[in-house]
């Protein structure tokens, strides 16, 4: 009989274990989310991340070892981003009808996201390198990471900010928009997508199909705008 320590030595460095645990942790988080009656506070991503982070700490496993397994899940972000074209296309008629409000909301919302983050950060005395990583946080993960690297921020720090922003948006969107008395699913979805990318969009799809589609549009358009504007804000911050 092989010692558990030996089996663990194999398992802990093999991609299979961490890939399995990533799917299982998310599955458990999703089950809790459904059992809670889909409460936004019970966020499956947050549950899975917290569980896995604690597990890595307890077992002394490095993030690089974890990621060797989890990268197969991470890789699917690319095709999923491409797939957003389909709900976008399905809502083409809605989009054409609301083109002007969308463009205005995009520019105002995108600037508000980046400038308010930097403004609050400066006021609270955050370091410049943290501020740079904070600028693209409302954009979808693959875009935000690329932008962060281009403007001299830390991509792995940005990854964490992107996730935190997404979860924040998913949790606060419904109560906040109800408080603002906004009933138009297009406006609600669009604002959530531009502010909190894919995690907000995943949440929007759970609430309403139209909101989800517009959230996807907001996320896609803000990815484009963030890539264009973030370098200008970074230059102004450093100048």
């Amino acid at each position: 009989m092989t010692e558990f320590a030996e089996i663990w030595t194999y398992l802990s460095t093999d991609p299979l274990l961490w890939l399995t645990l990533t799917l299982a942790a998310y599955g458990a988080g999703d089950a809790l989310f459904k059992a809670s009656g889909r409460k936004p506070m019970v966020n499956p991503v947050l549950i899975a991340v917290a569980f896995l982070a604690v597990l890595l700490q307890l077992t002394g496993t490095s993030y690089a070892t974890y990621f060797a397994g989890a990268q197969f899940v991470h890789f699917m972000l690319g095709p999923a981003t491409v797939a957003l074209a389909i709900p976008l296309y399905a809502n083409l008629n809605h989009i054409k009808k609301a083109a002007l409000p969308m463009i205005a909301a995009l520019v105002a919302g995108s600037l508000a996201a980046m400038l308010s983050a930097v403004g609050i950060g400066v006021a609270l005395g955050l370091d410049t390198n943290i501020l740079l990583a904070l600028i693209p946080k409302s954009a979808t993960a693959p875009v935000a990471l690329g932008v962060s690297e281009a403007i001299g921020g830390s991509p792995s720090l940005t990854a964490v900010f992107v996730i935190t922003t997404g979860i924040t948006g998913a949790i606060i969107a419904t109560p906040l928009l109800n408080l603002l008395r906004i009933t138009d699913w297009r406006a609600r979805g669009f604002a959530v997508g531009l502010a909190s990318h894919g995690i907000g969009t995943a949440r929007a799809f759970q609430v309403n199909e139209t909101a989800g589609a517009f959230s996807g549009v907001g996320m896609g358009l803000n990815a484009l705008l963030t890539a264009l504007i973030a370098p200008i804000i970074a230059q102004w911050l450093l100048g």
């Binding site: 957003l84 995009l106 308010s116 946080k137 990854a159 606060i172 604002a191």
Partner: protein, 121 residues
């Protein structure tokens, strides 16, 4: 069923690949998947049957979009020290700016819709 999903997935990957090549080839500041999304969108406008065909697969993929963020999120373990010293300030900046962005975005959308008289549907 699986064979069809594989073909659909290959289609998505092909558009991503096209996006990567375009992004690098033309030195664009946009990531490959975003360009791939734009190219797939344009292709669907020209050839609507493509959207109908791959919709079952994209619905499944987008229905589980949250899962795909877990690996990047676990990266938080490498930055726990920063969250110790700057955690509160970062929390305020992230929550504050998300509230501001959603509020500004939604109010601008509704304001412009009323201004231009676009229908509410």
């Amino acid at each position: 069923m699986l064979r069809i999903m594989i073909i659909h997935l290959a289609t998505l990957l092909a558009f991503q690949l096209l996006g990567e090549v375009t992004s690098r080839g033309l030195d664009l500041p946009l990531p490959g998947p975003v360009i791939g999304m734009a190219l797939l969108f344009v292709t669907c406008v020209i050839w609507p049957r493509l959207a109908e065909t791959i919709a079952p697969t994209t619905t499944v993929l987008l229905g589980h979009l949250s899962l795909l963020f877990v690996p990047a999120g676990v990266g938080v373990v490498g930055h726990l020290d920063k969250f110790g010293s700057d955690g509160a300030a970062l929390g305020v900046a992230i929550i504050g700016s998300t509230v501001v962005a959603i509020t500004v975005g939604a109010l601008t959308f509704v304001g412009l819709r009323k201004l231009t008289g676009t229908s509410h549907d």
